[in-house]
């Protein structure tokens, strides 16, 4: 964990807390990523801005890779691993620049597919990356007709899945563009197959 040093306040990211407890969580986990290939995408405000405070440094941060390994998954390294997710407010906040966002995601997805077509899982620790890496795959599918179907999963969602929480009711996979069911099948997580995908995703508000 980052240390308090030189009179600076100790600031940790929520994912640091999960990482610090990853062995305990993995021990309690109901499922594992055994035989599943996965890679990471670190938010730029984590390792790129604070390389000295981040776990594993700026170039090969171990935070998310360490979580994947703790759950028994296999890490895939690909050339565009550190490429931007494309969010960046200058791109995503202006409709005329949105093409750039999609282009970033397209570049990453193509690179990942070329390196290892079996790797269909990216773990993130930033809400921006989590939304855009997922949503822009939908844009790419519409515009280019090319489907990558790579699941973008937040570290907390991943912990939830592994511990056996409900993917739709608890983990928020009802709002993903890329359907999560193939990943659930691969891991062996049960869900109500009698319902249609839409029924499964019905918003879980108060009764």
């Amino acid at each position: 964990m980052p240390k308090v040093s030189g009179g600076r306040p100790s600031v940790v990211h929520a994912s640091d807390v999960i990482y610090a407890n990853i062995k305990k969580i993995a021990k309690k986990a109901k499922y594992s990523l055994d035989g599943i290939k996965a890679t990471d995408h670190l938010g730029c405000h984590y390792a790129k801005i604070f390389p000295d405070e981040s776990i594993g440094g700026g170039e090969f941060p171990q935070l998310l890779a360490g979580m994947i390994e703790a759950y028994g998954g296999e890490i895939v390294d690909y050339p565009e691993r550190r490429h931007c997710c494309g969010m960046g407010f200058r791109q995503c906040a202006f409709p005329e620049n949105r093409g750039y966002t999609a282009a970033c995601v397209y570049k990453k997805m193509k690179s990942l597919k070329k390196t290892d077509p079996d790797c269909k899982l990216i773990i993130t620790n930033c809400p921006g990356c989590g939304v855009f890496l997922d949503a822009e795959q939908g844009t790419i599918a519409q515009v280019m007709g090319e489907k990558f179907d790579v699941h973008i999963v937040d570290y907390a969602q991943l912990a939830g899945l592994m511990l056996g929480y409900d993917p739709f009711k608890d983990c928020g996979f009802n709002v993903k563009v890329v359907p999560i069911e193939p990943l659930l099948d691969k891991i062996g997580i049960e869900y109500d197959k009698s319902k249609t995908p839409e029924e499964r995703r019905r918003p879980f508000g108060p009764e």
Binding site: E59, F60, D77, K114
Partner: protein, 323 residues
Amino acid sequence: MANVTIIGGGVAGMAAAGVLNKRGHDVTIMEKEMQLGGHVGKWYKVFPDIVDASEIVDELKADLNGVEVKTGTAVESVTKSGGKFRVKGKDADAVLISTGFEPFDATLKEEYGYGIYDNVINSLELDEMLKKGELKTKDGKTPKSVGLVHCVGSRDEKVDNNYCSRVCCTNAIKSGIEIREHYPGTNVFCFYMDVRAYGRGYEELYRKSQEEFGVSFIRSRLSESNEQADKSLLLRVEDSLAGKPMKISVDLLVLMVGMCPSVHAGSLKDSLGLETGDDKFFTTKNKHSKNNESNVKGVFYAGTATGPKSIVEAITDGRAAAA
């Protein structure tokens, strides 16, 4: 006639020993490795005339008749009493420190992928490959393209080495020529900050490498390298002339590592109370007129112990120290 102990039997130490020996001094060389010659003794061909490095070592060795050579002797400390020194149980009137350098540890530049990716090697490993006549990628193929990255661990504030290591540029030029000469189907790209080919014949070699051997020089800085599915490397560089980022793939990436002070220099410094500069190399009494003298009377320096030098400079420096 004086008893002189030379710590480090590389080219500088040997050159100094040769001169001192001729002048009738009682000379002992202590070398940590099992043979004399230091780094140069292990190398293949050296610039600017591309001769065998072993020829240089053999020539220096020829002057060592009557010099006591203790190989396999690493000197960690020297004791001083009065004007005399004691080195590994041997008395000496004067000590010459020619401890040389260590190559920069390229794993510290982890964004380049040394020690992480299969086909990222350093300049010493390239030299070994060329010596064996086996320029090959990890899976045994002759690379179609080789990238040579200049200034790895030199002129780099991030690793706290602000100095230029002086020899890497010309070494890259020479290596480029060798690769193109023996493997004409292999393209060579040099990623350089500036080409500092300062010595006699170096600039000519730089020109020759481009005109006769077709080595490509790209003024750029490497930002990171990534391994691709076929184990080749995708390089992200900034072309600093065009001011634009670019990508290029190479089959083999060679990091031209710079020089760092020898690991034993630190303990010698402490035992004798010697001074080092910000660059961690030994500080000489005067940079112009007393460039071989230390702050301790009777202790002298030669070679790359006082900063990066080419072979000819190290030999000249060794002889100057003896004089």
